[in-house]
Symmetry: C2
Subunit: 492 residues, 2 copies
């Protein structure tokens, strides 16, 4: 049956949806959610059917198409397309099987991941996939298979010899070790192509912070060139099509804040595998607001990461670190970028916790390569940082990626002061992150906050705890209003 195209002028940003009038759908015995094959002159694609009850939106004889479908078929308003029913993809059967508790094979997982990658599954089907894995669990083989399927359905990079990488599973504001570790490692002559994410629920991701210094959205060929020249890069992974199924799975995890362990493991490992890393250091911060909020959970994750690494022929080392409070002084893109550069420039006022954690991690990476004696890594990293080679390397990386002028720090300020004398016993990660976000971070790059006190410091009544920065008075007021209930500092 043929239909005249109506351009709905809406982009859905993923799933390919077409709309038929309810009368046409009834005639063809088609239902909402059915897969249908839409055939234009030159090409055809499988879409998911939505039904319009209104005759205004999509009248009989017409088919409403969204931008993605029009683009892929290369057609316009008024063109004719043919429509026919096609069954559900086989992957839906496998999702059902998983929901019934069956263990899935590589081939079955590949089907699912491939269909997710190419937007052939609906949100409902993807949700069943996540829920089935969450409830029934994934075993090690399945996680390894899922990781490999994610890698195979995306773009892969390859570099010769030793390729290092690091990853932090997040939850700690200001924790920008990546931007210190990468130049130290690269300055020693190792290859470390680092792809990072942007903030989703935190005040800054590494990509947001690096963007204050250099371009982070680069074409893949350019990235390869930069890594060949400097040994490293610090770019945004999102646009690189590395394990693209991962982000699409996260989309259906977010609404319920589902933290499916199997998916987390596959997600991290797939990104590392896609860039060809063979030595990977993983940082699991432990604290009440992080993913590993107990020692048992952290140890369990460590074991799983190491096991999966072994299966993928990757040398994986996992460190469990203190995730109870922020790292560094700044929280927010510009403030964190300034912290990082202060550490790299060996400034006296550079945050010592960020410096120490980065050196510790760089040292372990050096030892993992086998090119540095056990126990000598920290010293090697310290030398490279102290003699300015890491800073010089960072300037090289920035230059190659395309230097950007540092955005201005927010001009609206508010000083948060201690209400009594005592010891700082806690700085709450979640409150601090929330304050920085309300002040505008990460969208307003100059927004955030600067910590003047850290845990264990002694403070006098009226002494400065932290400064909130915002780019507008409006957002500053919102943030100030928010901390009325709780500043995030516990003083005892």
């Amino acid at each position: 049956m043929k239909f005249k195209v109506k351009d709905m002028d809406i982009a859905t940003g993923g799933i390919l949806i077409v709309i038929l009038n309810h009368n046409d759908a009834t005639k063809l015995d088609l239902h909402s959610g059915d897969r249908i094959l839409v055939k234009a002159k030159k090409s055809s694609i499988t879409c998911i059917l939505d039904i319009s009850e209104s005759d205004v939106a999509v009248p009989e004889g017409k088919i409403g198409l969204f931008e993605e479908v029009l683009d892929r078929l290369g057609i316009h308003e008024g063109n004719l397309v043919e429509v026919s029913f096609t069954g559900k993809p086989e992957s839906v059967k496998h999702i059902r099987e998983k929901l019934h508790g069956k263990r899935l094979s590589y081939k079955q997982l590949y089907h699912i991941i491939d269909d997710i990658t190419h937007d052939r599954l609906t949100d409902i089907e993807k949700t069943y996939f996540v829920a089935a894995g969450f409830s029934n669990g994934w075993n090690i083989e399945e996680i390894v298979d899922m990781t490999q399927a994610m890698v195979e359905t995306g773009t892969k990079m390859k570099f010769k010899g030793i390729v290092l990488d690091k990853h932090c599973i997040g939850g700690v504001p200001g924790n920008r070790t990546t931007m210190v570790v990468i130049p130290i490692i690269a300055a020693a002559g190792f290859v470390i192509p680092k792809t990072s994410s942007r903030a989703i629920t935190s005040p800054a991701g590494t990509a947001d912070t690096m963007e204050c210094l250099a371009k982070v959205e680069l074409p893949q060929e350019k990235i390869k060139e930069i890594v060949k020249k400097t040994g490293a890069c610090i770019v945004h992974g999102g646009s690189m099509n590395l394990a693209p199924a991962d982000d699409k799975i996260i989309d259906v995890e977010n609404p319920l804040s589902i933290d499916a362990e199997g998916q987390l493991l596959a997600s991290v490992m797939a990104k590392k595998y896609s860039v060809g890393a063979n030595h990977v250091l993983i940082d699991i911060p432990m604290g009440k607001s992080t993913k590993a909020n107990t020692w048992d959970k952290a140890k369990r994750l460590r074991k799983l990461f190491e096991k999966i690494g072994k299966r993928l022929d990757m040398n994986v080392k996992v460190i469990i670190t203190d995730g109870t409070h922020p790292i560094g002084n700044g929280v927010g893109p510009v403030l964190e970028a300034e912290d990082v550069m202060a550490v790299l420039r060996n400034e006296i006022l550079a945050p010592s916790d960020l410096r120490k954690k980065a050196l510790y991690m760089a040292g372990i990476l050096f030892e993992m390569t086998g090119k540095c004696k056990k126990g000598k890594g920290y010293q090697m990293a310290t030398e490279i940082l102290d003699n300015g080679r890491a800073y010089k390397k960072m300037l090289d990386i920035i230059k190659e990626q395309g230097k950007q002028p540092m955005p201005k720090l927010g001009e609206e300020k508010y000083y948060v002061k201690a209400k009594k004398f005592g010891h700082v016993t806690e700085i709450n990660n979640e409150i601090i992150a929330k304050v920085a976000r309300i002040a505008g971070a990460p969208t307003d790059k100059g927004a955030g906050l600067y910590l003047n006190k850290k845990p264990h410091d002694v403070v006098k009544k009226g002494e400065l705890l932290y400064t909130i920065y915002a780019e507008s008075k409006f957002k500053l007021d919102l943030a100030v209003n928010f901390i009325k209930k709780n500043s995030g500092f516990v003083i005892k």
Copy 2:
């Protein structure tokens, strides 16, 4: 922040969705799927946010609203509305808890069911609810609580004294016992307000079949009046708002053909409870294509139905019947309506299997009331059918609901004949249903098929097995083409 309304001219048929431009969403730190409160002059509602990446669909400063939102707020293109973030409803927390294996209380289940009823949950969230229950199971208390929550969030009917009802969990083509049982019961002076469904994946539902004889979409007040007058009704339950959450849950079960036992039980019992039934007979056909495809499953379901009935103070009796092959001769609305009327008129050629099953069920219902001696129900039902009182009652019900002229039987015919001599050992329900659907049933009311042979019959080579009826040559050809591989008859 205020936005100018853009009428998107699309009806979504449920969930309340609004669209903001990606730049506005970023400014407000809002994400796709967030709940936002949309405030117009007179009222405000909670909607779910979608983000437009294109500036054409929804430019900055505008908010795209779908028909449902415009209607509920009573606003139009160009009006101003205010938008603010609101958190997820508490029910999402309860869904997470269920996903983690927790048992839910009545209050928690009520929250979830109430939010589903009022379209406050997204498809993704509803899917997690179904998947969580499917994977972790629901215990009896939870099913009872869910049933009651479904009833409380919908419309309830009430009749005095003994109120009977029957239900079949489906899967058998032609199984229209309801339309014979109801008039028999009502003719004996009992009250039996029957609401039925339309076909979703079968060639005809009771509502589709009854619609060949009388109106089935009636306002609730009218239905009450009919039941008071005649003691019965046979109407479509879909538009009556009885346990409305149920249909919305089924919407997310369909894409994966999930058959969640707990949901099935709650669904059936809620519909019966909503019409005030206190004696309910449930028919579980057992066969390889029915929901209870093993004796163990059928017995398990029986036990659960009876347990839940007890908790709800309902006298529930469950019969497990032969679901291996079609009941009656006709399959499709008109053909099934003719079967029913032939049985009620005591015609010699009326299908004896449909007659016997209906008498058996009516007899049990009589005995359940306590107004008929044990073992005497079948006889009582037979008398009422044989002396024409049931037929007369059916004519009353038809008249009260509004008699409709019987649609014409499809004029395009195809005779399916035996390819060899032998016994009919099997008539495959799924193939028979599929043939009738391809021929046009239930949308084309005169389409379907008429079985000339039943299981155990002896057939000669070339003898007529069944006749396919269609309203168009095109659909007849499709059906004929379909049975080339398999006619649905096994002859040995």
